[in-house]
């Protein structure tokens, strides 16, 4: 039998994000500072270290020292993240707007794909938005039906680890901590590039230009 530590190491080394939703036991385990240290020590052998983001909501494996090859990997990874930002942001806003509760999707939010589907089908503006999102390279859908587009988007997001489907028979998805990581990335870019995104949005709202 594999130990809890071994299981967590395996997930980390497979490139998974560990959060309360995707792996509650593992997340609680890593929350203990002694366990955190131990896992970090193991990872050190492989030039990796245990890293956390979004106020300790997610854990993942990072490189310990960066050589040229590591930098190359990080660079291509970053390009992937940057390319995926816009479709993901549009998707998050679509879900938020169509849910009607005005609450952003965060770790632990449940999304019922059939409810989402019926709302989108009833609202031409959402339909257009979804079609636009599904055409991005991240999702790369060529379906013209809402169902096909939605299914593909959900499938891709589950593959990428942003969503989880706790019960394979039910059309209910739960957002994982990786969504919170995404917000963190946005916030970081906002701060580093001095975009002042929140202020832009606020002034747009005050000017009444609806997004």
């Amino acid at each position: 039998m594999i130990s809890e530590q071994g299981r967590i190491l395996e997930r980390l080394l497979s490139g998974d994000f560990i959060c309360e939703i995707s792996d509650e036991d593992g997340w609680r385990y890593l929350k203990q500072s002694a366990n955190f240290e131990a896992v970090d020590q193991y990872l050190a052998t492989l030039n990796r270290s245990l890293s956390s983001a979004a106020d300790g909501q997610v854990f993942f494996a990072a490189y310990r020292t960066l050589g040229d090859s590591e930098r190359k990997v990080l660079s291509s990874q970053f390009q992937e993240i940057a390319a995926g930002l816009l479709p993901l942001v549009e998707w998050l806003l679509l879900v938020q707007q169509s849910s009607g509760s005005d609450v952003p999707v965060t770790q632990g939010s449940t999304i019922r794909s059939n409810e989402l589907q019926s709302t989108i089908e009833d609202t031409p503006a959402y339909k257009e938005q979804l079609a636009k999102i599904a055409r991005y390279r991240l999702f790369n859908s060529n379906s013209v039906e809402v169902v096909g587009q939605l299914n593909l988007v959900f499938k891709r997001l589950t593959e990428l680890g942003y969503l989880m489907k706790p019960n394979p028979d039910k059309l209910i998805y739960i957002a994982t901590g990786k969504i919170d990581y995404l917000y963190e990335v946005l916030r970081f870019i906002d701060e580093t590039e001095a975009l002042s995104l929140a202020e832009q949005a606020e002034s747009a709202i005050q000017q009444g230009s609806l997004l």
Partner: protein
């Protein structure tokens, strides 16, 4: 008088129960649609003080007292009003306590009892209103201000609730238990009411209020977080609309890579099977058993079994070159006719120095004779020169044929 009051109360309550549907409908919708009820019923309810018309021309509404009764008993969370007027309640408590003490001092016990009842009523009412206020606050917190949709509205509601909490807390500071105990003096009943009962409800209330306050702050933080995130998302979208070619600098190339973007590459691949491990044997056997019996042994590569290009073309026609021999047979027949002499086939063959095999030639001559039309054949006579087979009796061998005219 008391009897009258009793009767009037019963009448009022009966009227309420008779018109329960109507009253609940008014309670839920806020106003009465006068067309839906008969004028007699409406007049009656107006007279009893259940319904009233705030302004001429305005629709009829429920009286505040009835509304309060319903809100209180139904624990309806729509009630968002909090009575924070504790100061005046305290003042009236003190006044009533003075009345009671004075009556007691003058030995007017009946009057004193009445004052005490009144005072008890007030104390309990104050305690109840405090408990109610806290309860409504909590019900709003528990459903996270679910009655308003947008986050901004939730934040406003939260701020209102916070101000109500601090108002309540500052009002609670007006409880001066040293003063109250002085007022109560040595009187047991008064002390019980003013000090014990009030203090109990006071401590419960302050405790719950401080909890409510922290929950409210927590909620406010969450709402602000939500709002921040929404703005972040919308702001990013706006920014991308304005500068569609925006690409963040590649932070991975910085000398200090931010921890956020330091994601190690997936490393682990599935492990391979180790067939030499004894403790895995059972599982491996199971796996092997599940493999369908397909014996596809790898065959050695066979060049000739390879598919080859096939040329499909029309076959050259094979022509039997039987013309020469036919002509020779015809010439032979003509020779016989021309000379009118008998001539054997082999003699003709040698005389003409033809290159046919003698056996084939003889066959062809016999065939040529048989192939003639019946009337033509009558002009010829064909006589074979036959000898017996040397070993097998009964078998004849045609050595030659002689052709002559009849």
């Amino acid at each position: 008088m008391n009897q009258n009051l009793h009767q009037a109360g019963v009448k009022l309550l009966n009227a309420l129960s008779r018109n329960a549907d109507l009253i609940m409908q008014v309670y839920l919708s806020g106003t009465l649609h006068e067309s839906e009820a008969s004028p007699g019923v409406i007049d009656n309810l107006k007279k009893l003080g259940v319904l009233w018309r705030p302004e001429p021309g305005a629709p009829l509404r429920l009286k505040k007292a009835i509304r309060n009764l319903l809100e209180g008993s139904l624990h309806d969370e729509r009630n968002r009003q909090i009575d924070t007027n504790i100061g005046s309640a305290l003042a009236s408590l003190k006044t009533l306590a003075q009345h009671y003490k004075e009556a007691l001092h003058n030995h007017r016990y009946a009057e004193a009892q009445a004052h005490l009842n009144d005072l008890a009523e007030h104390v309990y009412a104050l305690a109840e209103s405090l408990a109610n206020s806290v309860r409504t606050l909590f019900s709003r917190i528990n459903n996270e201000f679910g009655y308003v949709a947008s986050i901004d509205a939730k934040i406003r509601e939260n701020e209102l609730a916070q101000s109500q909490v601090s108002e309540l807390l500052s009002q609670l500071e007006m409880f001066r238990f040293d003063e109250l105990s002085e007022v109560a003096g040595g009187l047991r009943e008064l002390r019980h009411l003013l000090v014990v009962a009030l203090q109990q409800s006071f401590s419960r209330c302050t405790q719950e209020l401080s909890m409510a306050q922290s929950r409210l702050l927590e909620l406010l933080g969450r709402f602000r977080e939500f709002r921040g995130r929404t703005r972040l998302l919308k702001g990013f979208l706006l920014h991308m609309e304005q500068q569609p070619d925006f690409v963040p600098a590649n932070y991975a190339n910085h000398s200090q890579v931010p921890a956020l973007f330091n994601l190690a590459k997936p490393l682990l691949q599935p492990a391979a099977v180790d067939v030499n491990r004894v403790d895995h044997e059972q599982d491996l056997l199971l796996l092997v058993g599940r493999i369908k019996a397909l014996h596809r042994t790898e065959k050695p590569h066979d060049e000739e079994r390879n598919a080859q290009a096939i040329d499909v073309e029309s076959q050259g026609q094979v022509e039997l070159d039987d013309k020469a021999i036919h002509q020779a047979v015809e010439a032979y027949f003509c020779e016989v006719i021309d000379t009118g002499k008998r001539l054997t086939a082999l003699q003709y063959l040698t005389s003409q120095a033809l290159e046919f095999d003698p056996e084939v030639w003889i066959y062809q001559v016999i065939g040529g004779y048989q192939g003639l039309a019946e009337e033509d054949r009558q002009y010829f006579a064909l006589e074979p020169e036959i000898e017996d087979h040397p070993i097998f009796t009964g078998n004849k061998i045609v050595r030659d044929v002689e052709l002559g005219l009849r």
